[in-house]
């Protein structure tokens, strides 16, 4: 029934987002950009796209940081304009999209508090999409306990904190562990929102996207914790587990993996990721991370093949993020005169 009722509230926004998605850079745009000699050439190319108004006020020798800021500004602008027109379940859904940024910001703030930094300064570095209410009163916070009591409980992330981190842990635990625990709780909650509370087409589309995200984290956490002091039970505790994700057997093996070999063996049990793993090994200039991104882009493109669901919003913003990454990468390659690597981006469309 989604197709009959969806458009009443969200038809307009969905069409807007699809229109925005059409303005994303394509494969041949990236080929052209990779040919650029300097960032002014990049600006010339981008001026023929939707980025023109965002870039026109930048002073002449364009810098990578400035480029990145412009792109981020555009992302934030897009998000805010979509969010301001959204109705009830979609607005919640859109809020959830920003929670990862919020987690990042909170981790940053937590670090600032733990190290007694000037929080106003830290606040400037927070991602604009991850801002939340109560940030203005941050200046008075002096300890992690206070941060929790005064700020965290009012944020949408409070349940995640309650779920996985105690106030005591805030000072004791490594912030990166906290970040991953929060992310795990966030993914579970997002999954619940999409599949149980919204359901329908949205649920079906988002389930695959979120469980891919979860699987990617499981594999990445395994790979990145191989040679660290992280204990195996701690590692398993960080794994986000969602229905429809990796098999229990695979996760069990990943949890016990000691080296790359063991990870590869575990991956052999899973159809999708085995292919990604093998391709990453075969293609020299592509890391596993690139393979994941490529796969993610494929899933996001597929989300656009289905109509009347919220997945397009999620997909669009993820694609935008990828585009920012790509353009920053090209910018970096050009400024660092590593022209040969500039074409090594993961195209979105």
């Amino acid at each position: 029934m989604d197709m009959l009722t969806f458009n009443a509230d969200n038809g307009y926004l969905e069409a807007v987002v699809r229109g925005l998605k059409a303005s994303l850079l394509r494969r041949n745009d990236y080929t052209n950009l990779a040919q650029c000699e300097n960032l002014e050439d990049v600006r010339t190319i981008l001026n023929s796209t939707d980025y023109a108004p965002w870039l026109q006020n930048e002073p002449a020798p364009l810098q990578t940081q400035a480029l990145f800021d412009c792109l981020t500004e555009r992302l934030v602008h897009d998000y805010r304009s979509v969010r301001s027109q959204a109705y009830a379940p979609l607005s919640t859904f859109l809020d959830y999209i920003t929670y990862p940024y919020m987690i990042d910001n909170l981790v940053l703030l937590l670090m600032g508090v733990l190290r007694n930094r000037d929080l106003g300064e830290v606040l400037d570095k927070c991602h604009p999409l991850g801002l939340f209410e109560g940030m203005a009163t941050l200046a008075v916070v002096t300890s992690p306990e206070e941060l929790y009591r005064e700020i965290l409980v009012d944020t949408p992330l409070a349940p995640y904190f309650a779920e996985c981190v105690s106030v005591h842990d805030l000072t004791e635990m490594n912030v990166e562990i906290i970040r991953n625990l929060l992310y795990k709780a966030y993914l579970a909650d997002f999954y619940h929102l999409c599949v149980k509370r919204i359901g329908g087409t949205t649920g079906a589309v988002m389930a695959s996207l979120i469980s891919f995200e979860a699987d990617r984290r499981v594999i990445n956490i395994t790979l990145n914790s191989l040679d660290t002091a992280l204990r195996k039970d701690e590692r398993v505790a960080l794994f986000p587990r969602l229905p429809g994700g990796l098999d229990d057997e695979v996760v069990y093996r990943l949890g016990r993996a000691d080296d790359l070999q063991a990870v590869a063996l575990a991956m052999d049990l899973s159809g999708t990721y085995r292919a990604l793993f093998q391709q990453a090994a075969e293609r020299e200039d592509h890391s596993l991370e690139d393979q994941f991104l490529e796969h993610e882009m494929k899933l996001l493109r597929e989300a656009f093949d289905v109509q009347f669901h919220y997945g397009v919003f999620y997909a669009y913003f993820r694609m935008r993020e990828q585009e920012i990454r790509n353009l920053t990468w090209i910018g970096e390659c050009i400024t660092q005169k590593q022209y040969a690597h500039a074409s090594r981006v993961v195209p979105i469309l």
Partner: protein
């Protein structure tokens, strides 16, 4: 009126002696009631279908035209198709209304009784078929607008899908007109 059925006796409807009860029930209702409810269905459901179709396709069209303004004029076709559904409904409703005339002893006149049922059926046929036709045009129109915004070459192909959808409504209209043409209440209509 003994048509009131206690809830716990509902199973009785499926027994032969219940048929008598239904016959009594419908027999007591005026054919004019059936006729006008038929007219109401015809126009009401058609407009409902058209309206639904228009908002489904319209909201997508409005949204998509922000980034691809060129699609607006072409994709107005989808809205017009939806609108046509409402027009079918009103045409059939007018045809049906002309079949209704005044009869002093309508309750006993079998022709009038027949006409009442016929118009009721025609109304339902037209109304429902136009409702679903409208929905179908709406959804395909919405997709068509979005697809056209992404790729202009798709429009003509998708338009054919829409045309098939809008043909569904016509089937109902034809059937409805044929059915209603047999009906005549109280000498309403030319052949009554």
């Amino acid at each position: 009126m003994d048509g009131v059925v206690p809830v716990h006796c509902l199973w009785r409807w499926f027994l032969p002696d219940c048929l008598e009860l239904f016959g009594d029930l419908f027999g007591q209702i005026s054919p004019y009631w059936f006729a006008y409810v038929g007219v109401a269905f015809a126009i009401g459901l058609s407009v409902l279908g058209a309206a639904w179709g228009i908002f489904v396709t319209g909201s997508s069209l409005v949204g998509a035209s922000i980034h691809a303004p060129r699609i607006t004029s072409k994709n107005l076709v989808s809205v017009i198709f939806c609108e046509a559904v409402a027009i079918y409904g009103i045409i059939v409703a007018i045809v049906m209304a002309t079949r209704i005339g005044y009869s002093a002893h309508a309750e006993t006149d079998t022709v009038t009784k027949y006409g009442g049922y016929a118009l009721f059926a025609a109304g339902l046929v037209v109304g429902l078929s136009n409702l679903f036709c409208g929905l179908s045009i709406g959804v395909t129109g919405s997709s068509c607008a979005l697809a056209d915004a992404q790729d202009a070459t798709l429009f003509v192909k998708l338009l054919i899908v829409e045309i098939f959808a809008s043909a569904l409504g016509l089937f109902g209209v034809i059937a409805g007109i044929i059915i209603s043409s047999k009906a005549s209440l109280g000498g309403g209509g030319s052949n009554g």
